[in-house]
């Protein structure tokens, strides 16, 4: 069985974005970058499948500059992926979800993958679109935001998070699955495995190598702006906590009118 895991390098969730005024482009040069946390669940699930069965090969695929290789090595190859494919092309610098999906689909067509695992969204642009667009382009089934997975013969059963519960979904393979927290506990890479990961194959290609042209963006970004400023905090005297609690209830009811 062949599994592809599509991953993305994103700014750490501790990153502060200090915009003073609207700007056409976000300067992300100083950001610390990590593997998208939801992609870690996708990687872990692929590795668990490999450990449970025989003859499973996992390819980690990403789009990005040279700096993504460190993430691929440490968070994908060192925890059990077999090889990596990096698509590096300046034409992708400002690509939108549809363009990214087109290029990843071209890469995924190179081998007959049975499963494509992805995080359910990236924590930078928060789109959650690319895996579903890929599934449609490749004619595969998709199940999104899964929290459990069981593989059968040519089919799979996944639990999918919905409001106040879950759906139990059965899908045919090949399929694209997007992973949510709760699916598994991603392992950490060991130092020896990080060293060994350097020996695993990592191929770098351009869009031309994949025989795909980057399509024009369907969504254009006009500007980035800071979140609306918040007012002063009204501090309630808490010398007598019970009185403070009563005063808080009164303010929420009479002043803020939210209860």
């Amino acid at each position: 069985m062949k599994i592809a895991v599509c991953v993305k390098q994103v700014p750490d969730s501790e990153t502060r974005i200090n915009l003073a005024a609207p700007t056409a482009e976000l300067d992300s040069s100083g950001f610390t970058r990590i593997l998208n946390p939801y992609d870690a669940y996708a990687v872990e699930e692929a590795v668990k499948i490999k450990e449970a069965g025989s003859d499973v090969e996992i390819t980690a695929i990403t789009i990005g500059p040279d700096t993504v290789k460190e993430t691929l090595k440490k968070d994908c190859l060192a925890v059990g992926c077999d090889k990596a494919l990096v698509i590096t092309d300046p034409a992708l610098d400002h690509a939108d979800a549809a363009a990214i999906a087109t290029v990843l689909s071209a890469a995924l067509k190179k081998e007959p993958y049975d499963l494509v695992l992805c995080g359910f969204k990236a924590i930078d642009d928060d789109n959650g679109q690319v895996p579903i667009l890929i599934a449609e382009k490749l004619g595969m089934a998709h199940v999104s935001t899964i929290t459990s997975l069981e593989l059968g013969e040519g089919t799979l059963t996944a639990h999918r998070e919905i409001e106040g519960g879950k759906e139990i979904v059965q899908a045919s393979m090949p399929a694209v699955l997007t992973c949510q927290k709760g699916l598994n506990e991603p392992r950490l890479p060991s130092l020896p495995n990080i060293m060994k990961a350097g020996m695993k194959p990592m191929e770098t290609v351009t869009c031309a190598d994949l025989g795909v042209e980057v399509p024009a963006n369907l969504v254009q970004i006009k500007q980035y702006s800071p979140p609306p400023a918040r007012g002063e905090c009204k501090l309630i005297d808490a010398e007598d906590p019970a009185a403070a609690a009563r005063e808080l209830a009164r303010l929420l009811n009479e002043e803020a009118k939210v209860i």
Binding site: Q129, A135, K166, K222, C233, L235, A238, P241, A256
Partner: protein
């Protein structure tokens, strides 16, 4: 003159409120810029959806009915909505950012090869559609424009104010064109988590607990206050990672991004990734022992005190007020 189509979601016949929020906003845009507001419904019976949509200002409600739309199927439902767009050419199809909407919206866009915009919180029409949405879980916002004649736009629940304004609500049907659709994935069953819990992303009020609750046994305090307020119960990542509370309660950049009318943070210091997920809430209350906790920087009301001294009394008081 934009014609805006709004998807009216039903689950087991229950209609999602986000539809009326979207119709209200579409009505405001249409009143200013011209154009029509359309409801689009998939389900066994369109009666209630049509009446309700009219209340909030829908000019027409298009429905495809039948057993195929009793329960959600991604390929069947997305095909039907794509066919609706092909037949009626709305400028945008607005879809609530619910579990169903986030699954189906991109698939509709893929079928139409059109622009797809996720999780929007603002819409403007000035010759063309302009959409505002948070990125980095709300650490900043982007204004984006679709370049295709039709676009699919996901709308976050509670982003828009629901406002009754009578519309014609003319009932029309449309041809879903779903014969022979390869379903590929099917929902076998739906399991409820039980307890009639309110979903975080749809809640108008949220009460969240952080490390200040000291242990899993004390999360009950948070749940009781949430109950008294008619609120959903949330949690910080620290509490979820410690295994005290299920991850489905997590608010933040790696959990749910929320924007309720009221957010009550109890014993939450306000890590940057938590603030990102909740700072668009309309009113924020912080209860924390540490006066220097970052949560007070985004709060409207603050109490510097131990949550164990405040929350039980607050629960009683709120109970009295709400009767």
């Amino acid at each position: 003159m934009p014609n805006l189509a709004v998807f009216i979601e039903q689950r087991d016949g229950a209609l999602k409120k986000v539809a009326w929020q979207m119709i209200s906003e579409a009505r405001r845009i249409a009143d200013a810029a011209g154009g029509e507001v359309w409801g689009v419904f998939l389900g066994p019976d369109a009666g209630e959806a049509t009446t309700e949509a009219a209340k909030y200002g829908a000019d027409k409600v298009f429905a495809a009915t039948g057993d195929s739309f009793a329960g959600y199927n991604s390929q069947t439902w997305a095909t039907a909505l794509a066919n609706f767009c092909r037949a009626h050419n709305p400028d945008a199809l607005l879809v609530g950012s619910t579990a169903l909407g986030k699954d189906m919206g991109p698939l509709v866009a893929a079928k139409l090869e059109c622009a797809c915009i996720s999780d929007a919180v603002g819409l403007k029409f000035d010759g063309g559609l302009e959409v505002r949405r948070p990125v980095f879980a709300g650490k900043c916002f982007t204004d984006v424009t679709p370049t295709t004649p039709v676009s699919v736009v996901g709308i976050r629940p509670n982003a828009f104010v629901m406002e009754e304004k009578a519309g014609a609500g003319a009932a029309e049907s449309f041809d879903a064109g779903i014969d022979g659709v390869d379903q590929k994935a099917t929902v076998q069953s739906v399991e409820s988590a039980g307890g009639g819990q309110i979903e975080l992303t749809e809640a108008e009020v949220i009460v969240s607990g952080g490390r200040g609750i000291k242990g899993p046994e004390n999360y009950e305090l948070i749940e009781k206050l949430a109950d008294a307020m008619g609120a959903a119960a949330g949690a910080s990542r620290a509490v979820v990672d410690a295994g005290w509370v299920d991850y489905s309660h997590q608010v933040g950049q790696t959990g749910k991004t929320v924007g309720p009318n009221l957010y009550v943070a109890c014993g939450i210091s306000g890590a940057i990734q938590h603030l990102a997920g909740m700072s668009s809430s309309k009113c924020i209350v912080a209860i924390n022992k540490d006066a220097n906790a970052p949560i007070f920087k985004v709060a409207d009301y603050g109490v510097v005190a131990d949550l164990f001294d405040i929350v039980p009394v607050l629960t009683d008081e709120v109970g009295k007020i709400r009767g």
